[in-house]
Amino acid sequence: MTSRDAILAAVRANQPAPAPPIPAIPLFERTSRSLLEEFQETLMSMGGKFAPALDADGLDALVRSLFPDAAVICSATPEVRGTRALNRSADPAELADVDVGVVRAAFGVAETGSVWLSEEELQVNALAYLAQHLVVLLDPARIVGNLHQAYRDARFKTARYAVLVTGPSATADIEGVLIHGAQGVRSLTVAMVSLGYEGTPEANSPNS
């Protein structure tokens, strides 16, 4: 018998009497607060920075002003040019010298201050981790209330890789002292930039 069959047989023989079906999971929606306000508050409590509403024209200048010393700015968005084009098929390790990565999130979650990214938004997944700093563009109209609503998004089922990013890479493993920039990005800035168009960011990306 293969290990697979042996394990499945042992599980079948031992699993307890069928427990009742799972009740429907409510959405637990609350409408008392502005989603944008709640998003900003939780993002900042998780160590993220919040850049208020901007039109797309000022974005290159905004990124430069946030990171005046940055030599390599690599953008996966059409709104920010950056200093180096992102090559979708390159070895991810080539991003090791990126100072600032720029991506656009598909949506945000107010409850947790998270932004949703997948391989479509990131183009190279490692961009969000190997860069020293990450700037995320988010359309303020695309913020959902909580994780129940977020997980109803069908893109979770089709993306190869999807991540809810909440603030920068962090650790408190030594005496509980909070450190930003444990292994991934040292800072995360979420800039409110409306999508001036309908459709996916990819359709407008310079590389497609």
């Binding site: 493993d173 030594i174 292994q183």
Partner: protein, 458 residues
């Protein structure tokens, strides 16, 4: 094998006063932060009920869900392997690595690979294994297992970390600055992320409907391990399955709130299919889980999502440290899991508890932890695993308690004894309870004699 002596091991932990004091305070702080988060969510108790129902339903239909997960994962282009036990798991991982010529493995934290003792297995076969979670890396470099499932090096102070880093990764000796130490680790690890041929993660959840798995970290080290090398191996215990994404929401809302008191981990990462041009291997591991599923009183321990809330709240854990349990899993959850792996080795662990029930009330998936601790004590008695001193004491207590006359005589004698006996007769090796504390002063009068004097007359 000799049983682990938790009380003896804790006595060393307790001797280091500064460590003990910090450990107790830091973990209690996590408990307080957990409460703040839980109280901020009106539906918290409803979420706990849902989480428990999802897990109980899934575990009672586990074989079907495992088959569904496997079929979807294969359809996504992942390779799926099955391991009956730790040694089969380790061999599978090694075979995958050697088929790819991989000599360096960067990995995120996984209690399962700790359970399988994977690192030494690979290292003796010339695979360099780099733990990339800061706490786990500290423990690896110091050649110690993690002492806590969420914060692996919580029993160490900054001076200890400084000493380890100076000895192992060339950090400046005597520099105890926490920012410096974290930065030293970051700089030491980065080249491994860029050069390793393989990356490994565990999984917090696996989702049957899509064949996806989910990894939660604060450092982003799982995402680096999985997204830079061309080979990703994920080791997943078979109890991690849940049916659907909508169920995942319930757990993600509670996991980090219960663990660290933050609304979510910085990174909640969902892996469904390999990146183009890379390989994804999933190893589904049993290692005693299918057997535990058949234990009437203990199968619900498989609901555990490894948040560590029961450890943070446990007065015994906070004052004895995770290493004193001598097991992969420590604290209250460890007490109810470990004996299922080795009943003799862990026969003393069920006594490392006051049965106060705090673990049960903070558990996000509503495992009746303290009831199970009590039930393990009964199993130890039935299986004749009780240490001699406890066995004798319980035999005598049993006799005294069953005879009111003997009981009354014993109570009045005990009151007198505590007052008048010399210290060595009370604070000796037969009474480990008295090692770090004083026996309380006994009441001047027993309730019964007070009652006879006062109430009988009315």
């Amino acid at each position: 094998m000799k049983p682990i002596d938790h009380a003896e091991a804790s006595s060393h932990f307790i001797e280091a006063k500064a460590h003990l004091e910090f450990h107790d305070r830091r973990l209690w702080d996590l408990r307080v932060k957990r409460d703040r988060q839980a109280h901020g969510i009106p539906e918290w108790e409803e979420l706990r009920n849902l989480a428990s129902a999802i897990k109980e339903h899934t575990l009672s239909h586990l074989a079907d869900y495992l088959e569904e997960f496997e079929a979807r994962a294969k359809n996504n282009g992942a390779h799926v392997h099955w391991a009956r036990d730790a040694s089969e798991h380790n061999q599978i991982v090694y075979d995958i690595l050697s088929a790819h010529g991989a000599k360096t493995l960067v990995k995120s934290k996984s209690m399962l690979t700790e359970e399988c003792d994977m690192r030494p297995f690979l290292e003796t076969r010339d695979v360099k294994v780099i733990e990339t979670d800061l706490g786990e890396r500290i423990q690896q470099l110091d050649d110690e297992p993690p002492s806590h499932i969420v914060v692996p090096a919580v029993h160490k102070l900054r001076g200890d970390v400084s000493e380890v880093f100076a000895r192992t990764i060339g950090a400046e000796p005597g520099n105890n600055d926490v920012h410096y130490l974290a930065e030293a680790m970051r700089r030491n690890t980065r080249p491994y992320f860029l050069g390793a041929e393989a990356g490994m993660t565990g999984a917090n959840f696996a989702i049957a409907e899509t064949g996806s798995f989910v990894v939660c970290t604060n450092e982003g080290n799982a995402d680096l391990s999985a997204n830079v090398p061309k080979l990703h191996i994920a080791c997943i215990g078979i109890e991690k399955i849940i049916p659907k994404f909508e169920h995942l929401a319930v757990f993600i809302r509670m996991l980090s709130r219960s663990a660290l008191g933050s609304p979510i981990t910085q990174y909640t990462s969902h892996f469904r299919a390999p990146r183009p041009g890379t390989e994804l291997h999933i190893v589904l591991v049993d290692n005693g889980r299918s057997q535990r599923l058949g234990m009437k009183d203990f199968w619900t321990s498989l609901k555990c999502i490894r948040c560590g809330a029961c450890m943070n709240t446990c007065p015994v854990y906070r004052r004895s440290g995770g290493l004193s349990y001598g097991a992969t899993y420590s604290g209250p959850i460890g007490i109810i899991i470990d004996p299922a792996f080795d009943i003799r080795k862990y026969s003393n662990l069920p006594y490392a508890s006051t049965l106060n029930g705090s673990c049960t009330s903070v558990c996000p998936v509503k495992i009746n932890i303290h009831d199970q601790i009590y039930k393990w004590r009964q199993v130890m008695v039935e299986r004749n695993q009780l240490p001699l001193v406890k066995k004798e004491a319980i035999r005598i207590i049993g006799r005294v308690m069953s005879e009111p006359r003997l009981y009354r005589a014993a109570i009045s004698a005990a009151g007198l004894a505590i007052e008048h006996l010399p210290r060595f007769a009370i604070y000796n090796w037969l009474n480990p309870w008295g090692r770090q504390r004083e026996v309380p002063e006994s009441a001047r009068q027993s309730f019964r004699s007070w009652y006879l004097e006062n109430r009988r007359r009315q």
